[in-house]
C-alpha cells in the first residue's frame, strides 16, 4: 500500500482554530499544534489504554470529561484542555498516582538544595525518592508533575514493598515505582507480538510481570528492551547504564552487529557511551531492536579486557610498544613477501572504509590477492549468486506488505528479532506464513504451515515450492509436490501442497533465509530455488546472514577473487580454507577483526588487529577502534550505506587507550611500505574514493536502498555434496553465539552469557531415551574414524534422529572447547553419525576432566 495523503481537518483547541490530519486522536492533534496535554499511559506506537486519566479534556457536546488519548478528533470539535475544573481534577488524579509511587522528593521543599549538595549514596538498595532513582531527570512523571504544577500530596507516601527483581539479565525491575500505565504490556503484546508481559492480580494489588510467576527467560522474553524504552518511570532500568544519570545527549548511529543495520541512538555521558535506544527510523527498525543492539553495545566496547595498546612480542615477552614501533616492526615483516607467504583475513563486521582500504593495501602494497574473509562462509553459493541476489530489491519493511511469507531456518528470538516483529505485523494484517525448519522455532508458534524436512533438505523444499508456486487465487496445487520430493525431504505431501496453495493466493511473496541454511555443505537445491525465485515477479528476499557488513565484503572486493564493484580478480591468492585445512602455510598471517582459529595456526608471524586479543599467542597486536570510537559506514542487507558515528573521542592515554580506525592503520602501514595512494584524512575521504571505484556507491552516507551493480558476471557455485558418513543419526551444526569482530560477545557482555547457548549435543528426549542416556550425561559420536564425546541436553525442539550442536559464529573469547574442536575443524553439516552413550561416565570421567582443566588454565595465565 502506498502511503495515502491524509486530508486535513479543522477543529478548535482552546478557542484557537487548528488543523489536524484525519483519524488522529485529540491528544495527537493537540501535540501537532503545540498544545500540551499531560499524559502518562499513551504512546505513539500503542493503542489507547485510558488508564492514567491525566489527559482528560472538555469537549463541547460531550458528557463529562472525555480522554484526549482515546477520543478521535473530528471536524468542528471544540476542545478545552486547560480549564480550571480539568486542572483541578488532573491534580487530584496525579496525587493518587503519586500516592503509590515513592515521590516524596517531588514535593520536598529542599529538593533543589538536596540535588546540589547531595551527600547520600546514590546507589541506594531501595528507591525511596527521586534522588536515589536511576531515572532521575529523565522521568516523564517528574515532567508531568512540573507541568501540572503539583506542589502538595494529600495522601501519605505509601510504599508497596515489593522486592526489586534483579534475576533476569539486562534490566532490573522495581515495581514499587510502577504506575501501571501498561505501556510495557502493550508494547510486548501489540508491537513485539511476544506477549511475555501481562497484568497480574487486580485493583490496588495489580502488578506487571510474566504470567504464572515465570522468570523472563522462561517466559520467552526476547530481551529487546522495548518495555524499558517506553517506561515513563524508573521501574524498568538497564543494568549497565542504570546509575549513569541523565545522559549528555545522543547521536544517531547504526547498530554494528548484523546486516539489518538498525538505526540506534547512542546516548553518551562524559564522553563515554552510556546506553542505546532504538531510533524511530521508519525504514529499517521503527523503534525496535534485538537483545544485541539494545543492551550489548556499552559492555562490548567497555569490557575490562578490551585491548587498548599496541603490543609486540619481544623474545619471551609480549609487551606494550608505541604505535611507531609497532607499525615499523609489522611493516618490516610485510616487506618483500611472496603472495603465497601472506594471508590477510578480514571480518565481515568492519566498516566499508576499512574493508576497502584492507583490500587496496593487500593488492597495491603486497601485490597479491591473498585476502579472504569469513564472510565467504556466510554467503554460500559464492559471490556470483549473492551478486545476483543483492541486485534484487531487498526490503525489510517490505515484509509488512507481503501477503505470503516463507521463513527458512529462522528463529527470531535473539537473532534478527526486528525481522520477527515485521513478520508478526504482516501476520496481523492477514499474511500467510510458511516456515521451513526441521527444528521448532519461535515463528512456528504463529505459522500457518510448518514444513518440517529432514535437516539439510530445506533447500529441496524451497525448490519444490519455487517450481510449483503460481500466482492465482484459484490455483489448485494438487499434485504439485511429487512423491519423490516428499520422500527426499520427509515433508508431508499434502501439507506441502496446501502450503503452496496458500502461497499462491498471495500477491507479494517474501522469502526469509535464516543463518542455519547457509551452514549446510550441499547447497545445490537452495541455489536453484533462489535463482528460480529471483526471476519471479513481486518476490522479495531477506537473507539474514551473520556479520554486519557481509554485503560490503562482497561489494568492496575483500575476497581474493573479487575486486571492488564485484569484478573478477586476476589470479587468486591464498584462502582461509587453505590455511584451516593446512593445505597452505603462509609465513605471515594478518588477522583483521577476525579469529578463525581456536589455536595458533602454524605460521611464523601473526598480526592481529582487533578490539580484543585473540585467544592464542600472537606476535603483533594493533588495537583497532570500536564502533563507538571511529567514524565509518556499513552496508546493510538492502544496500543502504549507513553511518557509524564516533561518540567516544577520548585522548590517547594509559586509560583511554591508543586505538585507531582500521583504515587508518592500513594507511600508516602503507606509508611505511612506500605507497603514496593512502593519503586519507578521514573516513569520508575513503568513501569518496570508493564511490569512484564501485558503480552506484554513494560518496556520502546515503540511506537509500541500493541494488548491487556488478562489473563482471561471476560463476555461481553449486555444491552437490552427498551426506557424508554412515550411521542412523544426522549431526547438524547450527551457527550460534553472538559474534562481533571475531569475538563471541557472550564472553564480554554479562547478560548475553546467561543467554549463551551451552556446549554439547542436543537431542530429542525420545532419542536420548532410546540411547539410554540421561540428559547431561556424555554421548560418544563417531564420524568415520573420529569419535567425539560431549554432554547431552534434552531439547524437545529437535526433530527425531537429529543431533544438534552449536557452531559458534565467532571463536574469539570463547572458552576452549577442546572436545568439540575436531567438529569445528570438520566443517561438515549434516553428517551421518553413529551415537552411543559414552563409556567413561561417573567419577572417573569427572576426575579426568578436572585434571585436564588445570594445565589449560595455567597455559592461559
Amino acid at each position: 500500500m502506498s502511503p495515502r495523503k491524509t486530508r486535513l481537518r479543522k477543529m478548535e483547541i482552546n478557542h484557537r482554530e487548528v488543523s489536524f490530519p484525519e483519524g488522529v486522536t485529540v491528544l495527537r492533534a493537540a501535540e501537532l499544534n503545540d498544545v500540551y496535554i499531560p499524559s502518562l499511559c499513551s504512546h505513539k506506537d500503542l493503542t489507547p489504554f485510558g488508564g492514567c486519566r491525566m489527559c482528560i479534556v472538555e469537549i463541547e457536546g460531550m458528557r463529562g470529561y472525555p480522554l484526549a488519548c482515546s477520543t478521535v478528533a473530528a471536524e468542528g470539535m471544540k476542545v478545552l484542555t486547560d480549564t480550571a475544573a480539568v486542572r483541578e481534577m488532573r491534580k487530584e488524579i496525579l496525587q493518587l498516582i503519586l500516592s503509590e509511587h515513592p515521590a516524596s522528593c517531588l514535593i520536598c521543599d529542599e529538593k533543589t538544595e538536596c540535588r546540589e549538595n547531595q551527600f547520600t549514596i546514590r546507589k541506594a538498595g531501595v528507591t525511596t525518592g527521586c534522588q536515589n532513582c536511576p531515572n532521575d531527570g529523565q522521568c516523564e512523571l517528574q515532567e508531568v508533575v512540573e507541568k501540572v504544577g503539583l506542589t502538595d500530596i494529600e495522601y501519605p507516601v505509601y510504599y508497596r514493598g515489593y522486592e526489586a527483581e534483579h534475576d533476569d539479565p539486562f534490566f532490573d525491575r522495581d515495581y514499587n515505582m510502577c504506575i501501571l500505565c501498561g505501556r510495557c504490556v502493550r508494547m510486548c503484546q501489540e508491537v513485539r507480538g511476544t506477549g511475555v508481559l501481562a497484568f497480574k492480580f487486580r485493583g490496588p494489588l495489580a502488578q506487571i510481570g510474566p504470567a504464572f510467576a515465570k522468570s523472563h527467560v522462561e517466559a520467552g522474553c526476547e530481551f529487546c528492551g522495548a518495555c524499558v524504552s517506553v517506561c515513563p518511570t524508573g521501574a524498568l532500568a538497564d543494568k549497565v547504564s542504570k546509575w549513569d544519570g541523565q545522559p549528555d545527549g545522543f547521536e544517531l548511529s547504526t547498530c554494528p552487529f548484523c546486516g539489518l543495520g538498525c538505526q540506534i541512538e547512542l546516548y553518551h555521558k562524559d564522553g563515554r557511551l552510556s546506553k542505546v535506544h532504538p531510533n524511530l527510523d521508519p525504514v529499517v527498525n521503527d523503534g525496535q531492536l534485538c537483545v544485541r543492539g539494545r543492551f550489548s553495545l556499552p559492555e562490548a566496547t567497555h569490557h575490562h579486557t578490551r585491548a587498548r595498546k599496541p603490543m609486540l612480542r619481544r623474545g619471551k615477552y609480549f609487551r606494550e610498544v608505541t604505535w611507531n614501533e609497532a607499525l615499523d616492526d609489522v611493516a618490516e615483516k610485510l616487506k618483500g613477501l611472496k603472495p603465497a607467504d601472506f594471508l590477510m583475513v578480514v571480518s565481515g563486521d568492519l566498516t566499508n572504509e576499512s574493508l576497502y582500504t584492507a583490500q587496496k593495501f593487500v593488492r597495491t602494497c603486497l601485490k597479491s590477492n591473498s585476502i579472504d574473509s569469513t564472510a565467504r562462509d556466510l554467503l554460500p553459493g559464492g559471490p556470483g549468486l549473492w551478486a545476483k541476489l543483492f541486485s534484487l530489491p531487498i526490503s525489510i519493511k517490505g515484509l509488512r506488505e507481503a501477503d505470503a511469507i516463507i521463513a527458512v531456518g529462522l528463529d527470531s528470538r535473539f537473532y534478527f528479532s526486528v525481522a520477527g516483529v515485521e513478520i508478526r505485523h504482516a501476520l496481523k494484517d492477514g499474511a500467510a506464513l510458511i516456515t521451513i525448519d526441521p527444528r521448532d522455532s519461535n515463528l512456528a508458534r504463529y505459522t500457518n504451515y510448518w514444513l518440517q524436512p529432514t535437516p539439510g533438505q530445506e533447500g529441496a523444499v524451497l525448490k519444490a515450492i519455487a517450481n510449483n508456486i503460481r500466482r492465482a487465487t484459484d490455483f489448485s496445487p494438487r499434485g504439485a509436490a511429487g512423491k519423490d520430493i516428499a520422500k527426499k525431504t520427509g515433508v508431508d505431501k499434502v501439507l506441502l501442497e496446501e502450503a503452496i496453495g496458500a502461497l499462491s493466493a498471495g500477491e507479494h511473496l517474501a522469502v526469509l533465509l535464516g543463518p542455519t541454511v547457509f551452514e549446510y555443505n550441499a547447497n545445490e537445491d537452495l541455489v536453484d530455488a533462489l535463482l528460480k525465485l529471483a526471476g519471479r515477479k513481486n518476490t522479495s528476499f531477506l537473507p539474514l546472514y551473520n556479520g554486519a557488513n557481509t554485503r560490503g565484503v562482497l561489494e568492496l572486493g575483500a575476497l581474493g577473487e573479487v575486486l571492488p564493484g564485484v569484478a573478477k580478480a586476476k589470479g587468486q591468492g591464498l584462502s582461509l580454507a587453505d590455511v584451516i585445512s593446512s593445505r597452505a602455510k603462509p609465513k605471515v598471517l594478518y588477522l583483521v577483526g577476525e579469529v578463525p582459529f581456536f589455536e595458533r595456526p602454524d605460521c611464523d608471524y601473526i598480526i592481529a588487529q582487533d578490539i580484543y586479543y585473540p585467544p592464542f599467542e600472537i606476535d603483533a597486536f594493533l588495537p583497532a577502534a570500536s564502533f563507538a570510537e571511529a567514524e565509518g559506514t556499513l552496508t546493510n542487507v538492502e544496500g543502504r550505506v549507513q553511518e557509524l558515528v564516533q561518540i567516544e573521542d577520548l585522548p590517547d592515554g594509559a586509560v583511554a587507550g591508543f586505538m585507531r580506525p582500521d583504515w587508518y592503520i592500513f594507511s600508516r602501514l602503507a606509508e611505511r611500505l612506500n605507497s603514496r595512494e593512502f593519503k586519507y584524512k578521514s573516513a569520508r575521504a575513503v568513501l569518496k574514493e570508493i564511490s569512484k571505484t564501485v558503480p552506484g556507491y554513494p560518496a556520502k552516507p546515503n540511506r537509500k536502498p541500493r541494488r548491487l551493480a556488478s562489473k563482471a558476471k561471476l560463476p555461481v557455485e553449486k555444491r552437490k555434496a552427498p551426506v557424508a558418513g554412515t550411521g542412523p543419526y544426522l549431526l547438524i551444526a547450527e551457527p550460534a553465539g553472538f559474534g562481533h569482530r571475531g569475538i563471541d560477545l557472550s564472553s564480554k557482555v554479562e547478560g548475553l552469557e546467561e543467554l549463551a547457548l551451552e556446549e554439547g549435543f542436543r537431542l530429542n528426549p525420545d532419542d536420548l531415551q532410546k540411547l539410554q542416556i540421561e540428559p547431561g550425561e556424555n554421548i560418544a559420536i563417531s564420524i568415520n574414524k573420529l569419535t567425539v564425546t560431549g554432554p547431552t541436553k534434552a531439547d524437545a525442539e529437535c526433530p527425531h534422529g537429529a543431533i544438534y550442536y552449536y557452531r559458534p559464529v565467532a571463536l574469539g573469547g570463547l572458552e576452549q572447547r577442546a572436545n568439540l574442536e575436531p567438529l569445528y575443524r570438520l566443517r561438515a553439516s549434516p553428517v551421518k553419525v553413529k551415537a552411543r552413550a559414552a563409556k567413561a561416565t561417573g567419577k572417573k570421567a569427572k576426575k579426568k576432566a578436572a585434571s585436564r582443566k588445570i594445565p589449560m588454565a595455567a597455559s592461559t595465565l
Binding site: Y65, I93, Y159, G203, P204, A206
Partner: protein, 470 residues
C-alpha cells in the same frame, strides 16, 4: 394485591426446570410467535414496550438493539449472567427455577438481532446453576429450539455457556466481552460501543438475564399488558431482592414502582424488621447505587420543601428507574435492597462497602485503583477510632474524583464505588462526626499506624500484613 407473578411463576413448582413443565404453561409460545414476525417487528415491539435493561443502568433494550449496524454480517448475543452485585440474587433464581424462560428470551432476542451465536456469560461461582442451565440447553436443542432451522423458520441459533472466573468487573458489558474472548477481564474504552464492535470485533448485544426473561411475556401477553405494569417511565415486572435483618428476606416479584418502605415492611415482601428494630440505612439497588436513610430518622413533614440541614427518613423512595434520582441515588441498579438496622455502627457499613470495591477494582484507571484503596484505608482508620473530621471531606473528595462525572473512568465500577461512600458520608455525617468526637485520647497515635503500617512494622512485610490482603 392483584399482581400475578410472571417472572417467578415457576418458583416452588416441582420439577420446574424441565422442558415439559415449562411448555405445559405456555412455554416457547412467545418464541414461536416471534419467529413468525420479522426481526425488525420484534425490535419495534420491544421498543414499544419500553423494556428497560434490568442489569442496573436501565437502558431501553429495544434502542440498544437499534444501535446495531444494519449491514452487519455476524452478530453475537452475550447474556450477562455474571450476577455479582453484592446483595443481588434474582438472576440466580431465574436460572435455578426457570432456565427455559431465559432460553426462550435468548431465542427471541437472538432472532430480533439476527444473532447466530449466543453466549451466556455465567458467574463462576454458579456451579449448580451451570448444570441446570446446561441441561436445559441440551433439552431445548433436542426439542429443536436451538440449532439449525428453529421451528421451521429458517433461523439458526447456537447457545453456549461461558463460565467466568470470578470478577465483579466482568459484569460490565465490555469487561464481560474481554473475558469472553479469553483475555484479562477488564473494560474496554468506549467508543466503539459493543453494538458496533464487541466480541471478536463483531457487533454484539449484551443483555441481562432478567431483561431477556421478560421477552416471552411481552410477546405472549402483549405490549399493553407490559406497559400497564409499573410506572409511566418504568414498565413491567421486576424481581426485587431484600436482605438483612428483615422478617422475610428473599426475592419477590412486583411491578416496578413499589416504595422502599413497602419492600421492607410490606406483607408480600420483607414483612418488617426482626425484633422490631428500626432501619438505619438501606442500600436499595445493590451496593453501587447509593444509600437511603431509614426510619430511625423523622419523617419529612413537608416533602416538597426539604430542609437540607435536617436528616429525614427516605424510605418513601419509589424503586423505579427515575424516582431514585430524587434521593441522590445513582439509579435503580439491581433493585436488591440490603437493610442495615439501627444498632450497627455506620463505620462498619463504610468499611464493608469500601472493602468490596478495593478488592474488585480491576486496576486499569488510576482513580479507581488508588481511590478505592484509599477509601478503604480511611474507612478502616475511622473504624479503628483514629479518624478526623477532615477525613470525611477527603472521602467525599476521592469519591467525587472516582466518578461523580461520567467519563472519569473507563467503566462504571468507580462510579459505583464512589457513590455509596459519598452518600453515606453526606447523609450520615452527624453520626460520623459524633463517633469521631467519641474517640479516645490515643486517636492521633493510632492514626499514624493505620495510615501506613508498613512504615511502622517491617517495611516489606507490613504491607502484606495489612488488611488490604485478607
Amino acid at each position: 394485591m392483584a399482581f400475578e407473578p410472571v417472572l417467578m411463576k415457576h418458583v416452588n413448582v416441582p420439577n420446574s426446570t424441565a422442558l415439559t413443565v415449562y411448555k405445559s404453561d405456555g412455554g416457547y409460545e412467545g418464541a414461536a410467535k416471534a419467529l413468525k414476525m420479522k426481526p425488525d417487528e420484534v425490535v419495534d415491539l420491544v421498543k414499544q414496550a419500553n423494556l428497560r435493561g434490568r442489569g442496573g443502568a436501565g437502558f431501553p433494550a429495544g434502542i440498544k438493539w437499534g444501535f446495531l449496524p444494519p449491514d452487519r454480517e455476524v452478530t453475537y448475543l452475550c447474556v450477562n449472567a455474571d450476577e455479582s452485585e453484592p446483595p443481588t440474587f434474582c438472576n440466580r433464581i431465574t436460572i435455578e427455577t426457570d432456565p427455559h424462560m431465559l432460553l426462550e428470551g435468548i431465542l427471541i432476542a437472538g432472532y430480533a438481532t439476527k444473532t447466530t451465536i449466543a453466549y451466556i456469560y455465567m458467574r463462576g461461582e454458579f456451579t449448580e446453576q451451570f448444570h441446570i442451565l446446561q441441561k436445559a440447553i441440551d433439552e431445548a436443542c433436542a426439542a429443536g429450539y436451538f440449532g439449525k432451522n428453529i421451528l421451521g423458520s429458517g433461523y439458526d441459533l447456537e447457545c453456549y455457556i461461558h463460565r467466568g472466573a470470578g470478577a465483579y468487573v466482568c459484569g460490565e458489558e465490555t469487561g464481560l466481552i474481554e473475558s469472553l474472548e479469553g483475555k484479562r477481564g477488564w473494560p474496554r474504552i468506549k467508543p466503539p460501543f459493543p453494538a458496533v464492535e464487541g466480541a471478536f470485533h463483531k457487533p454484539t448485544v449484551v443483555n441481562n438475564v432478567e431483561t431477556l426473561a421478560c421477552l416471552p411475556h411481552i410477546l405472549t401477553r402483549g405490549v399493553e399488558w407490559f406497559t400497564s405494569l409499573g410506572t409511566e417511565t418504568s414498565a413491567g415486572p421486576k424481581m426485587y431482592c431484600v436482605s438483612g435483618p428483615v422478617n422475610r428476606p428473599g426475592c419477590y416479584e412486583a411491578p416496578l414502582g413499589i416504595s422502599c418502605r413497602e419492600l421492607i415492611y410490606g406483607e408480600d415482601f420483607g414483612q418488617g424488621m426482626r425484633d422490631g428494630k428500626k432501619v438505619k440505612v438501606v442500600l436499595p439497588g445493590g451496593l453501587s447505587m447509593g444509600a437511603l436513610r431509614g426510619d430511625m430518622f423523622p419523617k419529612n413533614p413537608n416533602p416538597d420543601q426539604p430542609d437540607p440541614k435536617q436528616d429525614y427518613d427516605e424510605l418513601d423512595c419509589i424503586l423505579d428507574f427515575d424516582d431514585v434520582r430524587r434521593y441522590d441515588l445513582l439509579g435503580l441498579g439491581t433493585a436488591a435492597a440490603v437493610v442495615v438496622p439501627e444498632d450497627v455502627d455506620i463505620r462498619e457499613v463504610l468499611v464493608n462497602i469500601t472493602r468490596f470495591y478495593a478488592l474488585e477494582s480491576c486496576g486499569q484507571c488510576t482513580q479507581c485503583r488508588e481511590g478505592t484503596m484509599w477509601m478503604y484505608q480511611i474507612a478502616q482508620r475511622l473504624r479503628a477510632g483514629a479518624g478526623r473530621v477532615c477525613d470525611l471531606n477527603l472521602l467525599v473528595e476521592i469519591s467525587q474524583n472516582l466518578g461523580m462525572m461520567p467519563g472519569l473512568s473507563i467503566c462504571g465500577l468507580s462510579d459505583g464505588g464512589g457513590w455509596p461512600v459519598r452518600n453515606l458520608v453526606q447523609k450520615f455525617r452527624k453520626e460520623f462526626e459524633q463517633r469521631i468526637a467519641e474517640q479516645g485520647a490515643d486517636a492521633a497515635a493510632r492514626r499514624i499506624k493505620e495510615i501506613n503500617p508498613a512504615a511502622y512494622e517491617s517495611p516489606i512485610r507490613g504491607y502484606q500484613a495489612a488488611e488490604v490482603h485478607p
